[in-house]
């Protein structure tokens, strides 16, 4: 199959071609989406191997189930649903695995120190969250979805989505405050 045939196709045309069984069209869709999906999975799972596995599962499942997608314009949203499902699967599979995060001692440059330490504090806080909370924060802050869209991706009522974001931020704040206290260390487990 000649990939040039699809070079000028928009996403909808690619989805329709992939749905009809064209692997080349599907590969172009994969290349368009893979970084964003991987980034979201990375935020949700905080582990590169798990993120890679989740994205692979998502895309292979998408290829398999694409003929059942009725509305080609919903492809992106549908992929996000599949990604959430795959991330839950990965989080469950590795739930017993845990990691302890300890903040590094301070460095010499105060400005750099403050920026790096702040990111490490958030990193440790994210790792301490449950998979539910990490996933909802990834959908809202990384994929920029509104609560109603998050509700769609998670299959929950919009009110529950709003509440879950709220509680996730409360949990993150608690973890960050623990780390911000003098002598505090970030510590958490990956669900």
């Amino acid at each position: 199959m000649n990939p040039e045939r699809f070079r000028r196709s928009d996403e909808r045309q690619l989805v329709e071609a992939a749905r009809a069984g064209e692997p080349v069209a599907f590969e172009l869709l994969v290349r368009q989406q893979v970084d964003r999906l991987y980034g979201a999975a990375w935020v949700m799972l905080r582990e590169p191997d798990l993120a890679e596995e989740a994205v692979q599962q998502t895309l292979v499942r998408a290829w398999r189930d694409l003929p059942r997608l009725r509305d080609a314009d919903r492809f992106g949203a549908w992929l996000q649903k599949l990604l959430v499902r795959a991330c839950y699967d990965e989080a469950r599979r590795r739930r017993r695995w845990s990691a302890t995060i300890r903040l590094l001692p301070s460095v010499d440059d105060p400005g750099l120190e403050s920026g790096l330490a702040d990111r490490e504090v958030i990193e440790a806080g994210m790792r301490s969250l449950s998979a539910d909370h990490r996933i909802v924060l990834a959908l809202h802050f990384f994929l920029d979805l509104e609560p109603s869209e998050i509700a769609d991706r998670l299959g929950i009522p919009p009110g529950t989505a709003r509440s879950r974001i709220h509680y996730a931020l409360i949990a993150l704040r608690a973890a960050v405050e623990a780390s911000d206290r003098p002598g505090g260390t970030g510590k958490g487990s990956v669900a």
Partner: protein, 390 residues
């Protein structure tokens, strides 16, 4: 741009957004696309003509099946006129994959023989965008996206009555004391089944419900549960339970309450809320059947002996993150939420194996059982689908 102004900690949000910006620099490993495409090439799909042909074959088979079902329904009507039984309406959803009902008693034979699950027979769809579904006390109740509580006629699927609720519903329970609708955005609402009069329970915000001893209602909250006295319409006991999301399951019977958390199932004394036992392992939905507690954990359904808090059976292959409904020795689980397709499985409690199954397009929001029918609320297309239990 997503509106995050409603959160009350802008400094935390800004720190999180800075951290998220760093994550946007992350790129997928180059090998990932190659690995995906290797899997894709290894499982080639048929093209458009083949898919269309397969669909037409399916429709033809469905038509033949519909004729068989129509004959069966006609016989059923005649039988119902004789014995006053309930009669379902004909199949209406071509996305379902029904199969003829087995003869009475054959499901147990299949369960004992280890035969594949029997496909549930689709009886039709009710067009309503349901966010919650519950059955009990002879009635079937739905909350729709407009936050209306609607009673459906279980024979025709028609709306019988409705009443607007003040907010979105996260969980619903039908009990002798009324229909209870919990929300994570505001107080629990009790609806009188006769008059549809609403009563709000103060300070009762939550996402899961169960009815226990003395008809008291248990409400699952963030990091805790609360007990509501239906006599006073007030909370009379609050029990902190760590690691809980509001929507994780609850189950109650006699003097005990089980509470699902992200780290295990906690057994409480229903009288004073004292912790009696802990069962390790996370669970999402809980339910009781006879002397057993059933818990969904990922793709596994666990049977737990409540007398010694041990797992006695594990049934694999259920949809993850499922909703659960239990009736007549069968545990019905449906889900997963947010998936491209949904699955309903019926587990035979005696044999501890999946005895029935069906699949639908779009994710499943909730499941309920009433009489000889299983009802599922579906995300895609906004419908409630009804299946006959063989």
């Amino acid at each position: 741009m997503t509106d995050r102004s409603s959160f009350d900690d802008p400094i935390l949000v800004r720190r999180l957004e800075d951290w998220i910006e760093d994550q946007r620099e992350v790129r997928a490993p180059a090998r990932l696309v190659d690995a995906v495409m290797a899997d894709v090439v290894a499982q080639p799909r048929e093209g458009g003509w083949a898919i269309a042909l397969r669909r037409w074959q399916g429709i033809a088979a469905y038509g033949a099946l519909t004729a068989v079902v129509a004959i069966g329904v006609t016989l059923g009507i005649l039988l119902a006129q004789t014995i006053g039984d309930e009669v379902g309406h004909p199949p209406a959803s071509p996305s379902l994959s029904p199969s003829p009902s087995p003869s009475p008693g054959s499901s147990n034979d299949l369960a004992a023989s280890g035969a594949p699950p029997v496909s549930l027979l689709a009886l039709g769809d009710v067009q309503i965008e349901a966010t919650a579904l519950a059955a009990g006390e002879g009635g079937l109740w739905v909350v729709d996206r407009a936050n209306r509580l609607v009673e459906l006629d279980q024979a025709t699927g028609d709306e019988r009555r409705s009443v607007p609720l003040p907010r979105p519903v996260a969980a619903m329970l039908v009990a002798s004391t009324g229909v209870w609708a919990a929300s994570v955005e505001g107080d629990l609402v009790r609806v009188d089944r006769a008059t549809l009069e609403l009563t709000e329970i103060a300070d009762a915000i939550g996402g899961a419900l169960a009815v226990g001893q003395d008809a008291r209602i248990w409400l699952g909250r963030e990091n805790g549960v609360a007990r509501i006295d239906p006599g006073s319409n007030a909370i009379d006991l609050v029990v902190p339970v760590a690691n809980r999301s509001p929507d994780l399951g609850l189950a109650a019977v006699d003097s005990v309450v089980w509470v699902a958390t992200r780290t295990g199932i906690v057994q409480l004394d229903a009288g004073d809320g004292a912790v009696v036992a802990r069962i390790p392992g996370d669970a999402t939905a809980l339910g009781l059947d006879g002397g057993s507690l059933w818990a969904s954990r990922g793709i596994e359904l666990l049977r737990i002996d409540p007398t010694n808090a041990t797992i006695t059976e594990i049934v694999a292959g259920i949809p993850a993150g499922s909703s659960m409904a239990i009736a007549d020795g069968r545990i019905w689980v449906a889900g997963p939420p947010g998936a491209a397709s949904g699955t309903i499985v019926g587990v035979d409690a005696a044999a501890a194996r999946i005895a029935f199954e069906a699949s639908v397009d779009g994710s499943i929001v909730d499941v309920a059982v009433l009489g000889a029918s299983v009802w599922v609320a579906r995300d895609e297309g906004g419908s409630v689908s009804r299946f006959s239990v063989p």
